[in-house]
Homo-oligomer: 281 residues x 2
């Protein structure tokens, strides 16, 4: 039993809950799309909550944002154009723009209020929003991809909420088919794919949908993420070309700072737990 000085995200389906001790609530609002809350926590800095789910904390977001961006960027042979679907807190955008080869990064989040709140409460994540290579759009990402010219992007990062509510359509074959068409020949889509411990059903369904959308080559990236259910999270990469492979030397020589990611972590994040390997064998 926890008293009201904790914010708790309870997951009825998995019977788990994660809580952070809070100092105070800084903000709450119902946006056009979601219920948004910001808390000041005792030891994790600020916390953004969307529809009751912990989304971003100052302290541990580096794990998620680095692992949603650097593995895919160091897998594509020469990425120049990146779209981020979702990602309204701008942390993924910041990581993407650390790569000097990127010429254009477009963040497409349906909810402008997420970004406006991130600018106030997570300014460090928005540090690259004024980069001349960055564009922020507040429109429907599914529609954006559907209407895109074929081969017009190298990497699509789907940095979305869970597959319920506004993000549900991002986990479907129709969307992946549109991604496949919009991507260049060596293009890759990567999507957050929930907890390997709690959500193997989602991980399996995602691969099936990606395959139905035209992708034949998938890899899952595993990483710790304290504030998400089970503390263990994943992202699934789907590549158009079977030849796409980790540019290890480039990762080892990267000229920017990270807190979690490095070339060893990249390789390690692809190792499949035994239960996972058997599930997809």
């Amino acid at each position: 039993m926890l008293e009201a000085t904790w914010f708790s995200e309870a997951q009825p389906a998995s019977g788990t809950a994660f809580s952070l001790k809070i100092k105070r609530k800084l903000h709450e609002e119902q946006s056009e799309f979601q219920f948004l809350e910001i808390y000041e926590t005792e030891s994790f800095g600020n916390l953004m909550v969307i529809d009751g789910c912990t989304m971003v904390s100052t302290r541990d977001n580096f794990l998620y944002h680095e692992m949603m961006s650097h593995p895919v960027l160091f897998t594509h042979p020469n990425p120049k154009r990146v779209w981020i679907i979702g990602g309204g807190d701008c942390g993924t955008l910041r990581e993407v723009l650390k790569h000097p080869g990127i010429e254009q990064a477009v963040q497409i989040d349906i909810d402008e209020r997420v970004t406006r709140l991130a600018e106030i409460y997570f300014p460090e994540l928005c540090a690259s929003n004024d980069d001349p290579r960055a564009t922020l759009k507040f429109i429907d990402g599914i529609k954006w991809v559907k209407e895109a010219a074929p081969g017009s992007v190298d990497i699509i990062i789907v940095d979305s909420t869970d597959p319920v509510g506004p993000a549900e359509g991002l986990f479907c074959a129709d969307f992946y088919q549109d991604c496949f068409r919009a991507l260049s020949d060596e293009g890759i889509v990567v999507q957050q794919s929930e907890s390997p411990l709690l959500h193997m059903n989602i991980l399996k369904a995602m691969r099936d949908e990606m395959r139905a959308g035209g992708f034949q080559h998938m890899q899952t990236v595993f990483f710790p993420q304290c504030i998400y259910p089970s503390g263990w999270w994943s992202a699934t990469m789907a590549t158009k070309s079977p030849l796409t492979a980790f540019r290890e030397q480039d990762a080892a020589n990267k000229a920017f700072e990270t807190l979690f990611y490095n070339a060893d972590i990249h390789k390690a994040s692809l190792a499949m737990p035994e239960f996972f390997r058997k599930a997809f064998a």
Copy 2:
């Protein structure tokens, strides 16, 4: 805020809490050493709690038990004799005895009640307690190691509670010095070393104490562990010989089943996050 149908372990120092939804409390007792509770949870099977800290759940203990045993056993060149200090739930003992080369495994937990409760509520973890190679002792592990003959063991696994209360002495140079003496020339001690996100102070202090105890070569194993604070955990291996290295081929050819561990996971678990690498550079 969570109502009383959840068991919560709140960590005041880190401002985090993890909770499991419970069906009912199955047992509680004050042993000579600790307060022990057993719950039936909604979705994690049974849960053992010691002094308010979640210790073992049916659902996710495989992560911890496999990663406390197989990495060290596949690092020692030819392990025959293993001591487990703590480990009263017998899950580590079961994993150790999966290795056919093991001739003798001694579990030394100060609290016999932990094992007696594990036999009732986690019978699968106690499946190897009757193996003729296994010995269960309910005595002080620190004293056991101090009084051991030099070179009398190949691997010491310190499967202890946190470094407060009964386990505090297991995190000190005096204890590591006794381990160093008790270990054979290629001997290794491995110890659970808390969360890389929340407890870097403990991880650093442990290496200092191990060094003061005579060990010059340390490696940290990282792995997910849902029910422990932050969901991300570690174990630190200290080897007497600088030449000790992963027996990759043996791990790849292992003749027993695991749920998490395999040769790829072994290598992956040793990858150092960037912040960790810099802290120990």
